[in-house]
Amino acid sequence: MSFMVIQDLKVHYPVRGGIFNQVVDTIRAVDGISMEFESGKAYGLVGESGCGKSTTGRAIIGLEKITSGRVIYEGVNVTNKRTKRKSSFNRDVQMIFQDAHSSLNPRKRVRDIIAEPIQNFLKLSLKEEERKISELLEIVGMPEDAKYKYPHEFSGGQKQRLGIARAIATNPKLIIADEPVSALDLSVQAQILNFMKDIQREFGLSYLFISHDLGVVKHMCDYISIMYKGRFVESGTKNDIYNNPQHIYTKRLLSAIPQVTPIGRERRKRERIKIENYYQEQYKNYFDENERVLDLIPISNTHHVAATLPMQKGGI
């Protein structure tokens, strides 16, 4: 059973110009995507920079105004209600940001940063609040004395863990993680990813994992959606996407990921160039005249792929 449904979400930005500052054009950052979230599952959103994946995350949580479409949380429509007081949406959906440093207030102590969601959503006495903060710091593996320090006193990985502590303070159901590890070194990244998996198991969390790193997404997610120009190109289980990619864009993206083994790299390079050439050649068949991705059609219970125009030549 899905606890949250996103229907035909669109975020358009007007482009103003001319003498009267009229709307002359719109940028379709997110252009009609639908998703469903089940509890305890991780959903990956993958795409190249500028494809609208971050905007999607921000629109769902309410940091970006939704142009059309609906976000339905436990049966309640919560679209564009900044203070969505009628449902527990604000408490149950939290976010982790890419740049941990700039998402922590430099003038607040760690204690006050983590206390903020607690004060907003949980009615705890001062003593309970203090205990809760210590508990959260312990969960993310930070020492007790971190409470009275300021964000700048921590390393990048530690700051990201503080961001996670803040996000899980209210026992959320869904965490939207926007590139949570892309600024971190490999070994620190491993630590954060392990840890995110641990708390997922412990609290039955769902993730919306936004990343451009297909390796990380493969490690973390059950379901993956590939995004291009504001629309889904392909969406399915991890297995569907990695072992049975259908759309040319997905194939191209997968073939471009460097593999961590030097064996067979010549063959991979040839394959990559072949797919790239095919992509350039057949581009028109996969997108409509406005270069918009065509609508998704199901090819199995879990696997959806954007339609293609009738082929002029054979496939790969």
């Binding site: 070194d185 490999l186 630590q191 451009h212 390796g215 961590v260 990559r272």
Partner: protein, 334 residues
């Protein structure tokens, strides 16, 4: 055309930064050789000294706050002893550099064509007409579709991948014998990254240059490098041909890194975490094995007092003997 002459030799290089009136070595006794026609990758996490090493080769460090000694031998001369004028003779026609951030290393007020031409003005005797043609040729060579238009454009009008291509065009304009690429694809999307890496490989085939590729991405290394040097805390701790390193990594640090990559393990597995943090420059242990504090479960006797470099297989070098005793820590049941 594959010849294996050494073109660059670094011997016991130390680069120290001044902190509170004292020098601390960020690069601490590095020796390396670069051969013609090969791609040597230098990998390591942030702060290990890999970029410091690269920039010092063409003398880009600030002489007031750094202390550099050792030898960087290029054509029998030590680059460290050269003055600014002599270095300018080398930068460009002999050694080219590709920087990580394509936007901040391009001049925002100059047209692309003029920026590429700049090096040609200083280093060649070509006249304006020949230079113009060469610029067009270079832009074509790095895979830019309509070179005439791009040459007239400014950096902000180009996408990230295009800018990186321009940077490469500038670096190869004077046909350098050595290319130093400092994280050339880190800021780019995977599809663009693949194109840029292919481009580097093609250019190398054409010119036979030696390339030093600085990166933290082991995937990139596996795709393009011939030889790999792994750096940790200012030292090279392992060096081997690419296949040897990926198939038989020896040093605990290298092995730990490989086990931290999400791609290589199935998702049910936990990723390996290297215990502790990279020590800061001031707190670097200057004696004994520098990685020892991160693998405390390995007994102290396993490390050498004065870690030496051992050749464990042909052309495969490892620092310290602790690799013999190393095993991964058993996962605690939490």
């Amino acid at each position: 055309m594959k010849s294996t002459g050494e073109i660059l030799k670094i011997k016991d290089l130390h680069i120290g930064f001044k902190i509170n009136d004292e020098f601390y070595d960020a690069v601490d006794g590095v020796s390396l050789t670069l051969k013609r026609n090969e791609i040597l990758a230098i990998v390591g996490e942030s702060g290990c000294g890999k970029s410091t090493l690269a920039t010092s080769i063409i003398g880009l460090h600030d002489p007031n706050s750094t202390r550099v000694y050792g030898e960087i031998l290029y054509r029998n001369q030590n680059l460290l002893t050269l003055g600014e004028d002599q270095l300018n003779e080398i930068r460009g026609p002999e050694i080219g550099m590709i920087f990580q951030d394509p936007l901040s290393s391009l001049n925002p007020l100059m047209r692309i064509g003029d920026q590429i031409e700049e090096g040609l003005i200083y280093h060649t005797k070509q006249n304006a007409e020949e230079r113009k043609n060469r610029v067009q040729e270079l832009l074509q060579q790095v895979g830019i579709q309509n070179p005439e238009r791009v040459a007239r454009q400014f950096p902000h009008q180009l996408s990230g991948g295009m800018r990186q291509r321009v940077i490469i065009a500038i670096a190869i304009a004077c046909k350098p014998k050595i290319l130093i690429a400092d994280e050339p694809t880190t800021a780019l999307d995977v599809t663009i990254q693949a194109q840029i890496l292919d481009l580097l490989l093609t250019l190398q085939h054409e010119t036979g240059a030696g390339i030093i590729l600085i990166t933290h991405d082991l995937g990139v290394v596996a795709e393009v490098a011939d030889r790999v040097a792994v750096m940790y805390a200012g030292e090279i701790i392992e060096e081997a041909p690419v296949k040897e390193l990926f198939l038989h990594p020896k040093h605990p640090y290298t092995r730990s890194l490989f086990h931290s990559i999400p791609q290589m393990s199935s998702s049910s597995e936990r990723l390996n975490v290297i215990q502790g943090i990279v020590p800061s420059l001031i707190n670097l242990p200057r004696e004994g094995c520098r990685f020892a504090s991160r693998i405390p479960w390995i007994k102290a006797e396993a490390h050498e007092k004065n870690p030496q470099i051992h050749e464990v297989a042909s052309e495969h070098f490892v620092r310290c003997t602790c690799y013999k005793e190393f095993h991964f820590k058993k996962e605690r049941n939490s």
